[in-house]
């Protein structure tokens, strides 16, 4: 029977299960009389012919319209992450901050070497050891809509950045009081001294009070906003670029701002930046090599050599100020995921030291990171701490590690789960896998819990109840100052009222370090302060509370026609860029 034949054509050949279903349709069609079919067919042909003619005509009409050559100084930029919200207080994330840093400006700024310099404030004075500050604002600065920049805008921005819904609450101390002295002078007073108050102000972007009020955008757009407000889809900054169009996740177009206050001395020659997010590594590289984009970030490190070998692109690499490290749960009496019951092996310093010594950082550097990492003995990058060079890592020593484990009562090692993100840091999953192998050789059996960052962060952060026994994390101090690391990462988290140690996932705690941290905050004498920081890090290292691994490398891929200084905090800022 023909029916049988038609059916067999589909049975079992579909990857989905609908074969039988299709077969029934075919069975039906097969039953049709030849007459009805021959009637249907010419019409079908006719329609297809007409359609193709129409297509051809339309094609001809549009072919001419497509030859839109890019302007001479148009830069096309692809990043793995997208630009989520344009509201400068919605999301505290490096890529977003960098994007908006082209459009908005802070009272301070950071140079190519990350040195703090004047921004919208021409200069400032710190008085009474950091309890009182005077900021002298730049005159003649205009927002993109033509409004003047004045002290009112600073006061407004100080309120807005600390209002509910802002993700930048720590940028400006909660108890700082802002007073307008005159249109171009602002006084800030604090109940307790804070000499590093302005360290993160380069990314506290100043907004226009009048514009916000006109557009009903006086409140910051919370990250959870169901309907994006005006400020989330539009910008009005003072910076060198303004945003002309913005399709989240698809494309954002920046145009040079001819009325920028520093336009006369501008270093860039860019008229337009077209930003597109490209999440896939290989795709991003292909886009650079084919000349479709002028700059990509990041470059997957296995493709660096290929890009450098290509005729029209090169990579910019350098150490990033982010430190990648491993650490352990040192708080619970029994680990969440381990075969050791009734006690927590990581409370024993010898076990932590054994883990440290089992990690062969040089091989990770050469094989996993392809030499694009700087092994680190400290939890902070050398850029932020001048005495870094005086610290060295304990030597890689698997035999010593085994001995230490035996001394601690684990001659045959033990099992423990390890949390690791797989899409957050450079080769994070590979680093963790390498660590698994190295630890296996000293007898530690790691049960990998390697996950995308969404699931990873949901567990290991405070909101998830610090559900981890052993983990990998990366940290860039937002202030560019060691105090941030000592307080957020290495500080005790035993006081629920305090924000100290909020990102200390393993709960390492040494009160002596905390005391030093508090002194470091208010110490005005630079060399004394550096000494105290060194002492604090020494305490941390002697406790083996953390295994710092390395500062990962920055890797940007740029067209040979394009140049841009690479800043160590991984912010891509076009006001220093030049394109031929």
């Amino acid at each position: 029977m023909p029916l049988d034949r038609g059916l067999r054509a589909f049975y079992g050949t579909r990857p989905e299960g609908e074969a039988a279903f299709l077969a029934s349709k075919i069975a039906v069609s097969r039953n049709k009389s030849p007459a009805s079919q021959s009637r249907g067919l010419p019409a079908e042909n006719d329609r297809m012919l007409k359609r193709s003619l129409l297509l051809a005509a339309t094609a001809a009409a549009f072919l001419s319209a497509t030859a839109l050559g890019a302007g001479a100084a148009t830069v096309r930029y692809a990043n793995q992450g997208d630009l989520k919200s344009l509201d400068p207080y919605t999301l505290n994330e490096t890529t977003t901050n960098a994007h908006l840093g082209n459009v908005y400006e802070g009272l301070t700024s950071r140079g190519k070497d990350l040195a703090i310099g004047p921004g919208l404030a021409e200069r400032w004075e710190m008085l009474e050891g950091g309890k009182r500050w005077m900021f002298y604002l730049r005159k003649g600065v205009k927002f993109h809509n033509g409004n003047d920049f004045t002290a009112d805008d600073v006061l407004f921005s100080a309120d807005r950045v600390r209002a509910q819904g802002s993700n930048f609450l720590t940028r400006v101390p909660k108890d700082a009081k802002f007073t307008k002295v005159d249109d171009y002078t602002v006084e800030v007073t604090l109940p307790t001294p804070n000499p590093i108050m302005h360290y993160q102000w380069d990314t506290w972007y100043i907004m226009d009070k009048e514009w916000a009020e006109q557009n009903n955008a006086t409140a910051p757009t919370p990250a959870s906003a169901q309907t994006p407000g005006h400020a989330a889809l539009n910008t009005n900054g003072t910076g060198p670029f303004r945003i002309e169009s913005h399709q989240p996740g698809v494309r954002t177009v920046f145009k040079a701002n001819p009325t920028w206050w520093n336009d006369a001395k501008k270093e860039h020659n860019i008229t337009e930046v077209i930003f597109t997010p490209i999440g896939n590594d290989a795709t991003r590289v292909a886009a650079l090599l084919s000349g479709e984009v002028d700059i990509i970030e990041p470059v997957p490190i296995q493709d660096i050599a290929r890009i450098n070998a290509s005729p029209n692109a090169r990579t910019l690499t350098g150490p990033e100020v982010r430190t990648i490290f491993l650490s352990f749960d040192q708080v619970r009496d029994e680990l969440l995921s381990s075969n050791v019951k009734g006690k927590n092996p990581f409370k024993d310093k010898r076990v932590r030291e054994a883990f440290y010594k089992a990690i062969d950082i040089e091989t990770i550097k050469s094989r996993v990171m392809r030499n694009l990492a700087t092994p680190s003995a400290l939890m902070i990058a050398p850029e932020f701490f001048p005495l870094s060079k005086e610290f060295t890592r304990p030597k890689y020593d698997p035999d010593g590690a085994k001995k230490l484990l035996a001394e601690a009562g684990y001659p045959n090692g033990f099992e423990v789960g390890m949390n690791c993100p797989t899409d957050r840091y450079v080769n994070d999953g590979e680093i963790c896998q390498a660590a698994v192998g190295m630890l296996a050789r000293v007898g530690i059996k790691i049960n990998p819990i390697f996950e995308p960052k969404a699931q990873y962060f949901a567990k290991v952060l405070k909101a998830g109840g610090y559900q981890t026994s052993f983990y990998l994390l990366g940290w860039t101090p937002g202030t560019g100052d060691p105090h941030n690391v000592l307080y957020d990462i290495m500080g005790c988290r035993d006081n629920p009222q305090s924000t100290r140690g909020e990102s200390n996932l393993g709960g390492y705690c040494n009160k002596k370090l905390d005391e030093l941290t508090d002194k470091i905050l208010v110490e005005a004498d630079a060399s004394k302060r550096t000494g105290m920081i060194a002492e604090a890090f020494k305490i941390g290292n002697e406790d083996f509370g953390y295994i710092p691994l390395h500062q990962q490398a920055l890797a940007w891929g740029v067209s040979k026609k394009f140049s841009i200084p690479q800043r160590a905090d991984n912010e891509i800022l076009f006001y220093w860029a030049r394109k031929e």
């Binding site: 589909f10 279903f21 349709k25 959870s224 292909a286 886009a287 909101a463």
Partner: protein
């Protein structure tokens, strides 16, 4: 006469009843899929961590959670979702902070163009190769086609994609390995069909996506052609002295094409859904890629809307086919009424 009229009326009533029942069933399927989709994805991850930064305090996280309505009872969340979905509002994407409907519409042209080109590719080559291998069953070329068809069935989609990329992008550098190339805006529709780079970008994804369908069509055409060529009807035509060419293309192929076009139509839904894999391999900015990214980022609104959309496409195509068949051939009604 009265008898005839009655039968006519009865037939119309039956048809109407059939159509209504099919439509209701389709709605039922959609509702079931909606419940499943929402219930599943509601628990597939914590969207809060996607929208706050690592150092956001716990209280702030709780606030975000509350404002997203993620702490309401699940039935409430589902009810809210469905009510809004009925009005074409699938919520705001967690990642993009844009209406999901808008995101899907933005990416729909890419997927539909890819699906269209894949179908055209599958139909053209499937029919040509099928006809040829039915008429010249033992020629070398036929054997080659059969081998290609076996490869089309055996190789996983992603492997075909990788292979093409390796050959034509990495080694030869002829075709782009990702994306749509330049597109032209036609109202809300973006098209890659009118630019050279757009057409070049379409080649490999279309082949990857269409290869399986091409195999299917080729096998079907070949089997049907062989069947029809042996039938009495063709023998009669031959006996009447019609030219071989006329017999082959005027009669045999014609009779083959109806099931082929039916299959191609029904497969359109499958192609759109299967584009998930092809779009991932080629980073094609369509709905499938959006879906995969949504799964990775636990973007519940997008995932739920995409599932409903796929279900709706399938259900609609099947419904149309069902109804068309009843209209075209009343004899089928009794068949169709049985559970298939």
């Amino acid at each position: 006469m009265p008898l005839f009229k009655n039968a006519d009326a009865a037939r119309e009533t039956a048809m109407l009843a059939f159509t209504i029942r099919r439509a209701l069933q389709a709605l039922g399927v959609l509702l079931a899929v909606g419940i499943i989709a929402f219930a599943m994805f509601r628990f597939a991850g914590d969207p809060v961590n996607q929208i706050v930064s690592i150092d956001t305090p716990a209280a702030e996280r709780e606030e975000v959670r509350r404002s997203l309505g993620l702490d309401d009872p699940v039935p409430v969340q589902f009810g809210r979702y469905f009510l809004r979905a009925a009005q074409g509002n699938f919520g705001i994407s967690y990642q993009f902070r844009q209406p999901v409907a808008q995101l899907l519409i933005d990416r729909m042209p890419a997927t539909l163009e890819l699906a269209f080109c894949a179908t055209v590719f599958a139909l053209t080559f499937g029919i040509l190769m099928g006809v040829y291998s039915a008429l010249r069953r033992d020629s070398l070329l036929s054997k080659l086609f059969q081998a290609v068809s076996l490869v089309g069935i055996s190789l996983p989609t992603f492997l075909i994609g990788i292979l093409l990329i390796y050959l034509f992008s990495v080694t030869l550098g002829l075709l782009p390995s990702y994306g749509r190339g330049d597109t032209v805006r036609l109202g809300w529709w973006t098209s890659g069909l009118f630019t050279l780079s757009g057409l070049k970008a379409l080649i490999m994804p279309s082949i990857t996506l269409g290869l399986f369908q091409m195999t299917l069509i080729m096998r079907l055409v070949r089997a049907e052609m062989l069947e029809v060529l042996r039938s009495d009807y063709i023998r009669f035509a031959r006996a009447r002295g019609l030219k071989t060419r006329a017999i082959h293309f005027g009669h045999a192929l014609k009779n083959t094409l109806v099931p082929v076009i039916t299959i191609a139509g029904l497969q359109l839904g499958a192609i759109i859904a299967f584009a998930i894999i092809t779009e991932t391999v080629f980073q094609w900015p369509g709905m499938g890629l959006l879906f995969v990214q949504a799964v990775q980022n636990v973007d519940i609104p997008i995932m739920a809307a995409y599932l409903l959309l796929v279900a709706a496409i399938f259900v609609t195509i099947n419904l149309i086919v069902d109804i068309l068949y009843t209209v075209v051939d009343p004899r089928l009604r009794s068949t169709l009424r049985q559970p298939v």
